[in-house]
């Protein structure tokens, strides 16, 4: 496979003037030329092959956007080397742009007063999209993302969700070899998010698009990415498959059981005795609610079977194995370690 994106000890530091609190101190800072450097991203190395779909996640301020901006050529890195589709992005920005699609979920359109249909037409000219490709991508976007109802409304009058859909469609019209999507599902409702994910999957299936997805909605990643890059305070915390991430960082699962009848003491003891060989902890929240915290080594099916056998169960759910829960725990532990 060809390499789509290559980063070697990539780093970006911002320079900003030193600021101090307070009115006089602030005024003094206005006339001083003292500056400080802040490292947004440091020592980032990874390689993404063509056709891969990679989720880039991290807390607010972890350096995700800065990374994306360096990969797309908007920012010039202060350290290290980056290559996207074989070119140095900031140096050959326009050449790269021809085969790159970008969505910034947070940033408005320049041509704000014209309908999406006209923007699309302009983009077709800008990228010189061949007719047959355009026919497919345009149709696919309009159908899948249900743009039909507002294609002729000026962009400034659209809702956030409608605008986001138009943005996503616009960024993929030229069937780019690589797409950078920075929070493409921000402000969308659950159903539309689903549509967006389907659109990404379809474009990838059809054109083998390499996708780099930044998001705070981890369901986006579960649906579309096989690989994860996790950033933490500007450094790479994890790089590998999504399953690998789950295995490595998932500490366990919790079985949440709602009981029909209160369990008496002998029943509880019998259940606990039966599962004594497993690494589990019983937490009797209320008379009608039990949580069984299973360590990674514990067998969830066995625990579940025993629970069902001994207790009258009204409802049952397993929590904690999802990406969401793992990442939340990871962020929290990262913060604790930093303090």
């Amino acid at each position: 496979m060809d390499t789509a994106i290559l980063a070697e000890s990539l780093g970006k530091t911002y320079t900003r003037r030193k600021r101090a609190d307070g009115f006089w101190a602030g005024l003094r800072a206005y006339f001083s030329f003292e500056s400080e450097t802040v490292a947004a991203v440091s020592d980032l190395s990874f390689r993404i092959e063509r056709g891969e779909s990679v989720g880039l996640i991290g807390e607010n301020g972890a350096g995700k956007s800065t990374t994306v901006k360096m990969l797309t050529g908007i920012l010039v890195p202060t350290h290290g080397r980056v290559e996207t589709l074989g070119v140095v992005p900031a140096r050959e920005r326009r050449k790269l742009a021809q085969s790159m699609g970008v969505v910034f979920g947070q940033k408005p359109q320049i041509l704000w007063d014209i309908p999406a249909r006209e923007s699309f037409r302009l983009l077709k000219v800008m990228y010189a999209v061949p007719d047959d490709v355009f026919r497919f991508t345009y149709h696919e976007a309009v159908e899948r993302l249900e743009l039909g109802d507002f294609l002729d409304t000026p962009v400034r009058l659209l809702s956030l969700g409608q605008r986001m859909r138009c943005d996503l469609a616009a960024s993929l019209l030229h069937a780019p070899a690589v797409a950078f999507l920075d929070e493409p599902t921000i402000g969308l409702d659950v159903l539309v998010k689903e549509r967006v994910r389907e659109h990404l999957i379809e474009m990838r299936r059809r054109f083998g698009t390499t996708i780099v997805l930044t998001t705070h909605d981890l369901k986006d990643i579960t649906a579309t990415c096989e690989r994860l890059l996790v950033l933490d305070r500007g450094r790479l915390l994890y790089d590998g498959s999504r399953e690998g991430f789950e295995q490595r960082f998932a500490v366990g699962r919790t079985l949440v059981v709602a009981l029909e009848h209160e369990a008496d003491a002998p029943t509880r003891r019998a259940l606990e005795a039966e599962l004594s060989s497993e690494e589990v902890t019983f937490v009797w929240d209320t008379p009608h609610r039990l949580r069984v915290e299973c360590a990674r080594s514990a067998s969830a099916p066995r625990v579940t079977a025993s629970v069902l056998e001994h207790l009258r169960v009204a409802d049952l759910s397993v929590q904690g194995a999802e990406l969401d829960a793992i990442v939340t725990r990871l962020y929290r532990s990262g913060k604790a370690a930093a303090e």
């Binding site: 908007i74 050449k95 320049i110 014209i114 000219v125």
Partner: protein, 260 residues
Amino acid sequence: MSAVGFYWALYRTALKSVAEYRVDFAVGVVTAISMQLAALTFYWIVFTRAPALGGWSSGEVLFLFGLTAMILGFAEATLNGIWWLPWYILDGQLDRLLTYPVNSLGFVLLSRPELHSLGNFCAGAVSLGVGWSLLSPPTYALALVPLWVVSGAIIYTGILVVVGAVTFRVVGPWVSHLFAVHQLLNTSRYPISIYPRWLYLLVMYVLPFGAAVFVPADFLRGHGSLWRALVIPPLAAFGTALVAKLAWDNALRAYQSTGS
């Protein structure tokens, strides 16, 4: 489809955006014409007191006034986007633009035409016409007017771009630095001979608006040579455009973008 085709399509689309705001357009045209009329009234007062201003007669000054207004009008109707640069940077639109396979400067410039500039352009054309009828320069010189207007517009915009490149470092919704340059252009509405030497050098050589206004006007009033009027304006335009491009590219390298 060539790059020219794209920029043309972009410009047409941008014009359509402007047409969305019809009231804005009407108010803008009226304002532009009133402001030019106010300036003309000032001339009129001057010329009722004195037959000439710095050695220029009233008809000759109309050449200066007309060319300056036409240049301003043409620049605003085509390359006006530079005035939006601070906003493009602030709300992150520039980031998006940098991911397009076209020249970012060209895109910025063409993205925001101002239709009310028609007011400036027409006021300028009428003034030039009146001056023309008073002094009747050679008719073939009419064919050179577009060259002067386009050269002047490129110089005007080029200087705005150089100054605007500062915006990349001093981020904020301010256009006062651009406005200062805009005011400097207006110096070319008055005879260059009334200015102190440093200002003369500034507007002729450093910020060469003068090259596209004074040199042609000198020729029209029968002082300068045709050769100078033919060569100097486009040459100054080319030079300014080159410096503007360098300044822009240099500023982009220092660009820090905004958060998120």
